[in-house]
Amino acid sequence: MPEIKVTPLGAGQDVGRSCILVSIGGKNIMLDCGMHMGYNDDRRFPDFSYITQNGRLTDFLDCVIISHFHLDHCGALPYMSEMVGYDGPIYMTHPTKAICPILLEDFRKITVDKKGETNFFTSQMIKDCMKKVIPLNLHQTVQVDDELEIKAYYAGHVLGAAMVHIKVGSESVVYTVSVNKFALCHSGAAWIDKCRPDILISESTYATTIRDSKRCRERDFLKKVHESIERGGKVLIPVFALGRAQELCILLETFWERMNLKAPIYFSTGLTEKANHYYKLFITWTNQKIRKTFVQRNMFEFKHIKAFDRSYADNPGPMVVFATPGMLHAGQSLQIFKKWAGNDKNMVIMPGYCVQGTIGHKILNGQRKLEMEGRSTLDVKLQVEYMSFSAHADAKGIMQLIRMAEPRNMLLVHGEAAKMEFLKGKIEQEFNCYMPANGETVALTTNPSVPVDISLNLLKREMTLGGPLPDPKKPRTMHGTLIMKENSLKLVSSEQALKELGLNEHQLRFTCRVQLQDPHSDSDTLHRIYTHLKSVLKDYTIQHLPDGTVMVESIVIKVSSSAEDANAKVLLLSWSYQDEDLGSYLSSLLKKGLPT
């Protein structure tokens, strides 16, 4: 039986690097190719030796599909394509293709900043990798090859995030990142077709929570920034070059405008301009609110937010600074943090994940004394806040998606095991649900429908037999000959089949012997049979032929006597396969004997 296999190499019952292998209809697809930022060695990338030990990934994989630009979904891509040597197609949406290299460059910087870093991709490798990427448009079916097709839908998680419908023949899989409620706002009912995939693979990051609204979080954020500014403090917001930074800028810009605030806001990253450029370019991919406001004015041309110069950090008075990198482990953000950490009026707001070991991670866990380079100690007196603006799906969003796509099975990835279990329980009330650990394979037997053409003649014949007119909603049995020609199946009449295949017709007859006791001559017995059948089978043509046989339709009956016992008669019955029902009936009838 055909089956679909899903094996997570990463993101199986965890939130590390995403890398999921899917085998469907003889095609092998890799969904996402992420990296784990918490490691400095080979462990940061998926172990591709599980796919193929000779390193020839191109021979094995038919394509790679990247769902969105976060590094835990695309960070290992240059490693895979330029260092391991995958040379096949890579698919992602236009915005993801544009933004991916920015984040990869950003991370490359983090990596080379560390000592003794080796085996990491170069800028040229990132470019060469991006040149292999084939961009996807929303709702456009892309034919990877003759059999494999993919179609992207809006997912709304971050700019350019997509869910992908993968189809081979009648088997299909939908893979989606954390779909959030904005996906629904974005395109309403056309969000995803009711495609009834065999499996829906979904992230389940916030599987247990129905999260408090993003609006609440935004209000909280603005309140905290405002309070700090009011008391004359400085606010540091460490960010990655792209993503949340842009959203937070828009929030502050609007708030500053509304409250007529004068404190300066600075943005200190060289990549911001490019990031803003892409947000502008892909405005149709942003959420409804941004798009609506964009019509009134260009939200990415900020009035209050200015470029930062490192000397500004020493200026007196309140200010807000967005600085990279987001984990406070090096660079501008760390330099500013060191300057401001000693003042309790100041505040640092961490809007994202921080890897263990980074200053960001330490202060979020409440460390107040930090040992810095050169054995100096830094007293952290400023306020530390964490605000998540991550747009992951919650249980409600996932259930909505399931109802929309109506999958036959559900498979959860990218979430913590315990929380996945909760959601799994919920889903299992309606669907089969799986949550494989990394390295475990889920194999699902599919029941693909095989399309068959039916000949017009056969249909017409069926109709003349008085059956109902063909109705796609009401399946019915039809008799015909199934032939395979030029890789397609056709149901035709047997005559047409013989003609099309150039074959001669052969007659197939069934025969059987029936023994009965009848103390008469053979001819009398035959006559008695004729009379008996005449009385039983009134609507049938029954003939007593001069050659000593009785014929009922195509069924021939002969009588012979046993050599030992003249009363023991042997009836020989023979019929063609078309009259099989009647032949069987007659044999059982005659076995019961003749009426006296």
């Binding site: 965890d14 939130v15 590390g16 462990r43 599980y50 000779n54 021979d59 976060h70 040379d87 460059e105 900043d113 560390k114 000592k115 800028s123 470019k127 040149k131 090859d145 990051t205 916030y206 990655f240 990253t269 060289g270 990549l271 301009e273 490019k274 450029h277 110069d309 490192r310 000397s311 482990h329 090096a330 660079g331 501008q332 994202g352 994940y353 921080c354 890897v355 263990q356 070991g357 200053i359 991670h361 330490k362 979020l364 866990n365 409440g366 460390q367 040992e371 810095m372 380079e373 050169g374 964490y386 998540s388 991550s390 992951h392 913590e416 650990a437 990394n438 390295g439 475990e440 394979t441």
Partner: protein
């Protein structure tokens, strides 16, 4: 080991015991294990360094409530402790070992189902298996049974780890056995008895493994396919890793099963089965019996009925560099069959033994699945070209012809038709997968003997691809690579006619303004790479550059590249700058006078440095000046370059992109080296004697003074001072190293009077502020202004400029050595240190303890 770490480790163990869920993130336990491994490898013993670990392991072993990640960690840790004989004894004495490695213990607790725990068990076991004591324990506890069961675990990760561990078991058996045999003569009785026991253990384990392999290799039903694949993978690995006689034992044990498996002709097993046969075959002598049987198996696989399987088998045989000439020659023939059939080029003799296979392959080529078969054929051409010419089924030149014809058939715009298999054309036309494989093959075939004759054909086909609007960007990129390669290996380009050149020029021009940035970028990169191809001969027998022959020289490429400087895609802008540098490098080396065009380029590049919104182009611009300066034999001869230098350096070092800054400092380093050529050891900045300070040589001083002034004028010193306070560590580090170099050269020679004669203007308030601060902390704050006044009197410093600093003074005041040591430590000091990790675990536990505070949990799960 750091005493601070030792002192807080018991607390960390306590935290881990209480709950594993409060860990800072999912990497902490692995990092902790990494640290323990380092301690175990570098120190005397892990237990000596961290005695609290035994207690920790014991407590976890009896506590089912610990999370699976903590249990898994503990199992691995137990293995690590037990890896040393001392640690093993301690664990044995406290009865931990038996409990921890007893699978039943975990099964009864209902934890064995968790793959995380099974991984911990296997890896712990693998770590412990380092000595005979461990092997005895392994044998007596009959752990081979559960280990064998895990060989086909449904989890890939568990199965793979189990495979590795089994190999480790066998290797240990092997090494202990050889020690036993070699060393038993001179040992005492007691030792001999241990050795005997070891040998028994060894043979018992080997027998079980052999029986298991023999039983498992045969595929009984299709549902066991994944298991069979895994067993074959295991077998291949074992045959590679273990040596004789164990290797022979294993091989003999499975030989019959392998023969049986070959007859089942299961396609999914073809590749792993081949891996086993080839692994087994590689280490055997030609005349031994198993070798003959293996060769027969390979022949059997090459004669299977499914063409795809046969192709896979042939490819594997070639890749393994078989010594059997008949086998490899046959494999090459098999692999070339599709190419022969598709193109109709007679690569093979039709009357050969492959008749039946030819029919099967011809049938397959009429189906969609022909693509993968053709790709297997093409991607193995490199292996075929490596064969000795007498074993090749046909001259390499014919293969080139066939590949060229195939490329023509694949090209959408080509009107070629196949004299071979007609049906295949509809599948391969426009198929970029086949196109790329064929181009890769053509790339390798450039080295074939006698292919010069087909250069024109190659050129025509590649021009067709470059011309075709439907060519995929990755195909275009490969086409350019093939041009470079072929031109590089064919020094005689006399066959390139004007007509061919014209066609090629048009194609390149078209691709330079392709709508896809990937195509434009590859074109621009190609123009740069072409310059670097060595000189060739033309039909006039004159030595000339391939760039001239193919594209008519720089008069064609430079305007095209200048245009690309305005490209909307920054990658293309950056590539065009690099290509311009490559294109102009020869004229820089020759010292040819600058043209107006080159002057325009410099102006454009300065604009890029000032205005380009993206780092890639700005990085390339700085590198352009670096390349120019390196190529220029005498900087003075190139007035424009030196005139641009202050702008490039000041702009580059103040850039927002760290790599632009770093490249700028590399340029500054070149200038520094040029200003002070060949510094003698006495100028090293490491150690200077007082005498050196006291006895400056007048002439030397004045030379240095003039060089230093030059450096200041070029903007090198201000760039370095600007860089040293940069927030990006690699930038600051580089600047610091260069400043130290400068200090080492200048300061020992200069007297105080000279100090006051060279000033540097520091633009950028933050740099100046830092310097001022240091001055204040340092000594008298009025040095600079005094110096400036003095200098002003001499007419050196035009006015008392608050942004003006004395170079030597600054070099002495800045504590560069301390700065260097801090910068060298990098953030790794915090990021990677074990103390930092231990502290993080402790603080995370403390942070998670207040009730109702679950924000941290959400943080862990947040996306990057």
């Amino acid at each position: 080991m750091d005493s601070q770490c030792v002192s807080i480790l018991p607390r960390v163990c306590g935290v881990l015991l209480v709950s594993g869920s409060s860990l800072p993130d999912d990497t902490s336990l692995e990092k902790l294990l990494d640290w323990f491994t380092t301690v175990a490898q570098t120190g005397p013993s892990l237990l000596e360094a961290c005695p609290c670990l035994v207690d920790f392991v014991s407590k976890v072993a009896f506590n089912y409530a610990s999370g699976s990640s903590i249990l898994s960690f503990t199992l691995k840790l137990t293995g690590l402790i037990g890896a040393s004989e001392d640690g093993f004894k301690v664990l044995k004495e406290c009865s931990v070992l038996k409990l921890v490695f007893n699978p039943q213990h975990w099964q009864e607790a209902g934890l064995w189902e968790d793959p995380c725990l099974r991984i911990g068990w296997i890896q712990g076991l693998k770590m412990i298996l380092q000595h005979s004591e461990a092997l005895s324990f392994f044998a007596q506890a009959d752990l081979i049974e559960p280990l064998l069961q895990l060989q086909t675990d449904p989890s890939l990760f568990v199965a793979s780890a189990a495979n590795q561990t089994l190999a480790q078991v066998l290797l240990l058996c092997q090494s202990l056995s050889s020690v036993g045999h070699n060393g038993s003569k001179n040992r005492d009785l007691e030792h001999n008895s241990v050795s005997m026991e070891t040998t028994q253990n060894y043979s018992g384990i080997i027998t079980k493994v052999s029986e298991y392999l023999n039983k498992s290799v045969v595929l009984k039903e299709i549902s066991q396919l994944p298991g069979s694949q895994q067993i074959l993978r295991l077998l291949a690995m074992l045959l590679v890793r273990v040596g004789p006689p164990l290797r022979d034992t294993l091989l003999l044990a499975v030989m019959n099963s392998l023969e049986e498996l070959v007859t089942t002709s299961c396609s999914q097993l073809t590749v792993p089965l081949l891996d086993v046969i080839l692994a087994a075959n590689s280490g055997l002598r030609d005349d031994c019996v198993p070798k003959q049987r293996l060769i027969r198996l390979l022949w059997a696989m090459l004669n299977m009925k499914k063409p795809d399987d046969v192709m896979q088998a042939a490819a594997a045989v070639l890749r393994s560099h078989q010594s059997d000439p008949a086998l490899s020659a046959h494999s090459a023939r098999v692999l070339l069959l599709p190419l022969d059939i598709v193109t109709g080029v007679s690569l093979l003799d039709e009357n050969s033994t492959e008749g039946e296979l030819r029919i099967l392959i011809t049938e397959q080529l009429k189906r969609k699945s022909c693509i993968s078969m053709i790709c297997v054929c093409l991607s193995n051409i490199p292996q075929i070209t490596l064969m000795a010419s007498d074993r090749l089924p046909c001259p390499q030149r014919l293969i080139v012809t066939a590949v060229l014809l195939l490329l023509r058939l694949c090209c959408v715009d080509s009107s070629s038709s196949s004299p071979g298999c007609v049906e295949v054309v509809r599948f391969i036309t426009g198929n970029s997968k086949v196109q790329k494989c064929a181009l890769e093959a053509l790339l390798v075939l450039s080295k074939s003997p006698g292919v010069k004759m087909v250069l024109v054909e190659v050129f025509k086909v590649l021009t067709e691809y470059l011309n075709s609007p439907s060519s995929d960007p990755s195909v275009l990129q490969k086409s350019y690579q093939v041009v470079i390669k072929w031109v590089g290996v064919c020094p005689d380009l006399s066959c390139i006619t004007d007509q061919l050149r014209e066609g090629f020029i048009q194609a390149v021009r078209k691709r330079a303004c392709d709508t896809r940035w990937e195509a434009r970028d590859s074109t621009v990169e190609f123009l740069g790479h072409l310059v670097e191809v060595p000189s060739c001969w033309t039909f006039t027998e004159q030595e000339t550059e391939p760039l001239d022959v193919l594209l008519g020289g720089r008069r064609f490429t430079v305007p095209l590249l200048k245009e690309a400087l305005q490209d909307p895609e920054s990658y293309v802008r950056a590539s065009s700058i690099s290509a311009l540098a490559q294109t102009l490098a020869p004229s820089w080396q020759d010292g040819t006078a600058l043209t107006q065009e080159q002057e325009d380029i410099v102006a454009q590049l300065q604009e890029v440095l000032f205005q380009d919104s993206e780092g890639f182009a700005r990085r390339a611009a700085v590198k352009y000046f670096t390349a120019w300066f390196s190529a220029c034999s005498s900087p003075s001869s190139c007035w424009l370059l030196m005139q641009s230098m202050p702008t490039v350096l000041s702009q580059g070092v103040a850039d927002l992109d760290w790599e632009v800054k770093l490249h700028t400092l590399e340029l500054a380093e070149l200038l520094l080296d040029r200003a002070f050529p060949d510094p003698s050891p006495s100028h090293s900045y490491a150690v200077m004697s007082d005498q050196d300070h006291r006895l400056p040589i007048a002439g030397q001083q004045s030379d240095l003074l003039s060089s230093l002034k030059n450096l200041v004028d070029w903007g090198v010193v201000s760039a370095l001072l600007c860089g040293v306070v940069d927030c990006d560590r690699p930038v600051a580090l580089k600047a610091c190293q260069l400043l130290l170099k400068l200090r080492g050269i200048v300061c020992p020679v200069m007297d105080n009077a000279a100090d006051t004669r060279v000033f540097c203007q520091l633009a950028g308030a933050s740099v100046l502020q830092q310097v001022r601060k240091i001055q204040e902390i340092g000594k008298d704050t009025h040095v600079v202004s005094e110096a400036c006044s003095e200098a002003d009197e001499e007419g050196i410093c035009a006015s008392v400029d608050p942004e003006c600093v004395g170079v030597c003074e600054v070099l002495r005041l800045l504590d560069l050595d301390e700065k260097l040591s801090i910068l060298t430590q990098s953030s790794d000091h915090i990021y990677n240190s074990p103390l930092s990790l231990l502290q993080d675990i402790l603080t995370a536990a403390a942070a998670s303890s207040p009730p109702g505070q679950d924000s941290r949990q959400e943080l862990v799960m947040d996306c990057y």
